[in-house]
Symmetry: C2
Subunit: 321 residues, 2 copies
């Protein structure tokens, strides 16, 4: 009998529901918005109807469903029954997600932080296959990570392990959205890259590319475009600065974990011009040569599918013998 797995990838702006096989083939997928402030109950209703529709469209019925993996953008409560803390989806906090989904579909439901889920996605379907020690990092609006050591996901005492984005890289440095100062995320995320450009423009720097763009409209993606298409010096400098700090962060992780691989995903990694080279230069400068020799740094081969595959991999990880 065909065994299917459902993956719910809950994001701050959109929710993706996918139905896949154990080998990571996505049979169908539905996407809908999860706008801030929207109530959790409405989203859960949509989750249910999306999965029901996918099961029907697949030609298989509910009895083929093995389990549901739910990736959430925030901290999962220690019993893994719901979301403990999510700045992007506050209405989800405390909602009995596992119980409600189990009641509807009568299959095991597992909830996992989204960066951890992405690491599992890499472990089962991507660059983490056959590797005992690796880290997955997403470099996007923020910086998150999932860590696999000794072939196991590292969740820590209360499921919060992997907050590498809040490693302090500068004592009393730039303010991070988390409230503390000097975090890697405040230096190397897409948001940080946009902030570098904004600050420079505010301080009177000139740029042909940005002169007709409102400061509030500058994003990491736009800076990437400015660097690639116009070789805008401001954009290039912003990306190089972010890349150097990310290299320091990666080297720290290489020295701490001695991993075989670091896998990089997220929006900032979509285009690596003026980023990869300075990042790797910093990695080589800061990592221990013996540990560096054991490690390769790669881009995620899963790209935008990492969210769906990660959610599906949550189930595989829980069901492995």
């Amino acid at each position: 009998m065909k065994r299917l797995i459902a993956g719910f990838d809950i994001g701050g702006t959109k929710i993706s529901v996918s139905l896949g096989t154990e080998s990571g083939k996505i049979l169908g997928k539905k996407i809908f918005p999860s706008a801030r402030g929207r109530q959790v109950k409405e989203s859960v209703r949509q989750l249910k109807s999306a999965l029901s529709a996918l099961l029907e469209e697949s030609g298989f019925g509910r009895r083929h469903l093995l389990g549901i993996g739910v990736a959430v953008p925030g901290a999962v409560d220690p019993r893994r029954e719901g979301v403990l803390k999510s700045p992007n989806l506050p209405s989800w906090e405390g909602f009995p997600l596992k119980r409600v989904l189990f009641k509807e579909f009568q299959v095991p439901v597992w909830i996992e932080n989204d960066a951890n889920a992405a690491a599992l996605g890499e472990q089962y379907f991507g660059s983490g296959r056959g590797i005992d020690h690796f880290l997955y990092l997403t470099i996007s609006t923020g910086i998150g990570s999932g860590i696999v050591a000794n072939d196991s996901l590292l969740r820590g005492a209360s499921g919060l392990a992997g907050e590498v984005g809040h490693m302090t890289v500068v004592q009393n440095g730039l303010l991070c959205p988390c409230g503390k100062r000097g975090c890697l995320e405040a230096y190397s995320s897409g948001t940080a890259i946009a902030n570098y450009v904004r600050t420079a423009l505010r301080n009177g720097a000139k740029s042909r590319f940005f002169r007709n763009i409102k400061l509030s409209e500058i994003t990491g993606r736009l800076v990437s475009e400015a660097a690639r298409t116009s070789k805008d010096p401001l954009a290039i400098q912003a990306r190089r600065t972010a890349a150097d700090f990310l290299g320091i962060g990666l080297a720290n992780l290489i020295n701490i974990f001695n991993p075989q691989r670091i896998i990089l995903g997220g929006g900032v990694m979509e285009h690596v011009e003026y980023f990869w080279t300075p990042m790797m230069k910093a990695v080589r400068r800061e990592a221990w040569p013996l540990s560096l020799r054991a490690c390769t740094v790669v881009r995620s081969p899963l790209g935008t599918e990492v969210g769906d595959l990660g959610a599906i991999a949550i189930v595989l990880d829980q069901m492995r013998p």
Copy 2:
């Protein structure tokens, strides 16, 4: 039948050979120097005769010996047959330690990095008992660590995991003995503390305590004494600076690992005046509140025995079911 374990704690200046029980009772112990440059063969001869003597003195014979654990100050080769790299004991590099000891005693021999061994010592006999996620850090001449995650020692791809002392805490910062810049070790070790005082004195700072002391004679231990006994402002400032950076390092590890405990040992931790309070202040400033709540930071209860107990624990760890 009484089952005994031998622990060889190989240090840069001295070697300790101990004979203990499975429950961590040390029955006997011999210490001899391991001066730099001394040839490995002479040390191994001394190891052998020390253990033979201990077995005889204990009243038990060789047949009671279960295994030998060897803790070494450096990188262990991936097959764990000897020392790959040790700046303090270069003559040991490449020596077939495991084979030679096995030939002599005909029991299993396991070699482990000393900070990893200390973490195992804590896991079996100290503050790591019954804890699945913890880090042991030694703050001494240098800074090393052993990491236990998911109830297992984290060795990484080539046995080099745990180099938290070489986490970069300042971009392009102070030069570290390892050759790179800005390492935690260059800011928070005993050596770093002595360097802060030396640099201040060189720059004309006045100190009643240090005025008759040669710059080359200043050590972390002496600075600790100056702070405790004379409330020397220079010494207090040096310790506070080091403590703040160590707090940043510990917070980074709390954010990355979400551990239940961080256990601190090493010379700098012998006296915690003008150190613990600023260190914990930095930890609270830099760690995520939810992760911090799950973690307690403690001093090692094993004190100076951590080396011997760590070497013994290597054997217990390998023999566990």
